[in-house]
């Protein structure tokens, strides 16, 4: 058991994956000599060489498109997109190519690729550096979309994603990279990648959160406990496919659900989760499913981002409202 930051956990997970399978390559802007702008690939170039840790030209479509070719040749590329807002130049390659090769060829071609994207806000950045594009990828058949919220998951999930034979969009909560430390048991057997987890059990209302908002919801649960309310917090971990069984079980007990994410409100993960919970748990619901999210505006400038990102007060307010029905 080792205590490490989320950034270090990802770094260790990548290193382990590269040791386990020589076909695993890391590629992206500044991932080699610099070790990545967030240092997630720190030291990998030195230990694995530039055939396996590839500093690329500054062209995201080119990075993902060449990764497709490498995968066709039998490699398992792990692509780093430097920031969430820079994934859009690669959007065509991801949506029209990466996601569809298996379908197009009736399974003759597999696309075992991981596209790592630091996502979410809260780091005081300029535009295009704080976005949450997960719904766009969840809405794309052929992709699997996962996000970690703590170092132990980060360490295990990056390795599981690399071992998967399908393309995985791997979203990393960038504001937690260096601010969150946790215990990582490198010898533990992790749960399956596509399984959600009850992070904290509770009896009165259910919170669903992933990535950077899990810790916000745990804080909210702690405050609510002081006020006599027991909140259950569930982290889906994988957004596509979405394992909502524990959420259904929870809502059947609590009758109340709040979904929390940084991405925009409309057609976000909250909308999908609300729809599925309504289909499965209609007669158990005591209140409509509520959502606490970023607003339907572009991500705002840094000095006011705290008003945009879901925080403790907004989550607690939603919990209050769900008890008002």
């Amino acid at each position: 058991m080792t205590t490490m930051t989320l950034a270090k956990a990802l770094n260790s997970g990548l290193r382990r994956a590269m040791e386990d399978d020589e076909k695993v390559l890391v590629m992206g802007e500044d991932v080699g000599t610099l070790g990545g702008v967030f240092r997630i690939t720190d030291g990998l170039l030195k230990d694995f060489g530039d055939d396996r840790v590839i500093d690329t030209p500054l062209a995201e479509s080119g990075i993902v498109g060449t990764a497709v070719g490498l995968a066709l040749r039998g490699y398992r590329p792990v692509v780093e997109i430097q920031f969430d807002g820079f994934v859009y130049p690669a959007y065509d390659q991801i949506v029209s190519q990466v996601a569809r090769f298996h379908f197009r060829t009736q399974g003759k071609v597999r696309m075992p690729m991981v596209i790592r994207i630091p996502f979410g806000g809260g780091i005081g950045a300029v535009e295009h550096h704080s976005e949450s594009p997960e719904a766009q990828f969840v809405h794309t058949p052929g992709l699997k979309v996962v996000t970690c919220s703590n170092p132990a998951d980060a360490y295990a999930m990056i390795q599981q994603a690399i071992r998967a034979d399908d393309p995985v969009i791997f979203l990393e909560p960038k504001r937690l990279y260096h601010s969150t430390k946790g215990e990582v048991d490198e010898s533990a057997t992790p749960p399956p990648l596509w399984q959600s987890r009850v992070v904290q059990a509770g009896t009165d209302a259910t919170l669903v959160a992933y990535g950077p908002t899990v810790s916000t919801c745990l804080d909210a649960a702690a405050v609510a406990a002081d006020e006599g309310r027991s909140l259950e917090v569930i982290d889906p971990r994988t957004l596509s496919p979405l394992d909502l069984s524990p959420v259904f079980d929870s809502v059947r007990r609590t009758g109340r659900l709040v979904v929390v994410h940084e991405a925009h409100l409309t057609l976000g993960m909250g909308a999908e989760i609300a729809a599925r919970v309504t289909e499965e748990c209609f007669h158990s619901l005591e209140a409509p499913v509520l959502r606490v999210t970023g607003y339907d505006t572009p991500y705002p400038s840094a000095r006011i981002e705290e008003f945009y990102v879901p925080d403790l007060d907004r989550v607690l307010d939603a919990v209050d409202r769900t008890f008002g029905f």
Partner: protein
């Protein structure tokens, strides 16, 4: 025209001063200081046969579309010289990434023409095994596959399959695309990546003069092959209606890649004699005079003239090839009709390598829906 500050103005995209040619439109062999080479009569007869059969394939498929058997067909008519010349230069271990008009390349890679029909009939979205033929699925998104070719070539480098001197091991990768694609960002990014890593990839651009209705001048102010220089690798323009020249230039570029010398851009200068696809009407945007001019440069006629005038082939040979073409056409018609529709329920299992519970559930709902009609029918 020269700008007083910035120097010479761009050339015209249609400037063909540096066209490599080994066989004139009249069927006369000419030499070339760099790419000149000998061809056996057998080889040239082989090119003739390939081109004739591929033309028949194209004509037959066009007719099948007209009869409502295909949803769409992109014609390769007129581009047989470029495609057979390039396709026959490939070694078995080389890998080609095609766009959707590459029927001649597919032919050279051993893809059954019926599989091409299946794609345009809507039976599948590319039914051949890319790894069986070392030939990718037709790319519909213009230029996107040039990056796949470059990435594949980077993989070839990592496998140590360049520059070993072993002719059965050293591998070249080819991206096949058209003049329209050269405006795409992906193609330009492919050029950047290929140059940066010195990847063993050949960019084979068939400049057929038309991107649907837009002439190649809309894509470029300079001859396309000269773009390569700006990216840091050589470019060459070859007469794409000259199968011999195309073969010679392609083979040199492939060998350069296999030897570890890096990428090359080949602009095969040709003409799309047919429509963009069967839904297109080229009379709306181009002159029949142009088409007539290009008919005089036909890739097959010049090889036939060459074979006949040199006594390399007799009427029996041409009769045999014609009969083979008839048989191919007959088989395509028969097997096209017999292509089975796919089972709708199979789409759910095609999305991922590892099936998800969500899609399995959607498949079950679909099955129940279909079954409900069977209940009613009973």
């Amino acid at each position: 025209m020269t700008d007083p500050v910035f120097g010479p103005a761009p050339q015209q995209a249609t400037d063909d001063l540096e066209l490599v040619q080994l066989l004139t439109p009249e069927g006369e062999r000419v030499d070339h200081p760099v790419f000149g080479r000998e061809f056996s009569a057998d080889q040239v007869r082989g090119f003739y046969r390939d081109m004739t059969l591929v033309r028949r394939l194209d004509i037959e498929a066009t007719a099948l579309q007209r009869h409502g058997e295909l949803g769409l067909w992109p014609q390769s008519l007129g581009q047989e010289g470029a495609q057979i010349g390039a396709g026959r230069a490939l070694s078995p271990q080389d890998f080609g990434f095609p766009t959707y008009r590459e029927h001649g390349i597919a032919w050279c890679r051993g893809v059954d023409p019926v599989r091409l029909l299946a794609l345009f009939r809507g039976v599948d979205q590319g039914g051949w095994d890319p790894f069986e033929h070392n030939f990718g699925i037709y790319s519909i998104v213009i230029g996107s596959h040039t990056l796949h070719a470059t990435g594949y070539a980077m993989g070839v480098q990592r496998d140590g399959a360049v520059g070993t001197g072993d002719a059965t091991r050293d591998t070249a990768v080819v991206a096949f695309f058209g003049d329209g694609a050269t405006s795409q960002g992906d193609v330009n990014e492919a050029f950047v990546f290929a140059a940066s890593y010195n990847a063993p990839v050949v960019f084979f651009c068939q400049n057929n003069q038309w991107a649907i209705s837009e002439p190649s001048e809309r894509q470029s102010r300079i001859p396309l092959y000269r773009r390569a220089q700006g990216f840091g690798f050589p470019g060459v323009r070859v007469d794409g209606n000259d199968v011999l020249a195309t073969y010679a230039v392609m083979q040199a570029a492939l060998q350069r890649a296999r030897d570890g010398q890096g990428p090359t851009l080949i602009e095969a200068y040709t003409y799309r004699m047919g429509a963009h696809t069967t839904t297109d009407d080229p009379t709306r945007y181009r002159l029949s005079d142009d088409v007539e001019q290009w008919k005089l440069k036909d890739p097959i006629s010049r090889v036939e003239a060459h074979l006949r005038s040199n006594g390399f082939a007799d009427d029996d040979f041409f009769g045999e090839v014609a009969a083979e073409a008839d048989a191919l056409g007959e088989r395509m018609r028969r097997e096209c009709h017999a292509l089975p529709d796919p089972a709708p329920r199979d789409i759910f299992a095609m999305v991922h390598a590892e099936q998800t519970a969500e899609l399995a559930a959607q498949q079950a709902v679909f099955d129940a829906h279909v079954a409900s009609f069977e209940e009613v029918a009973r």
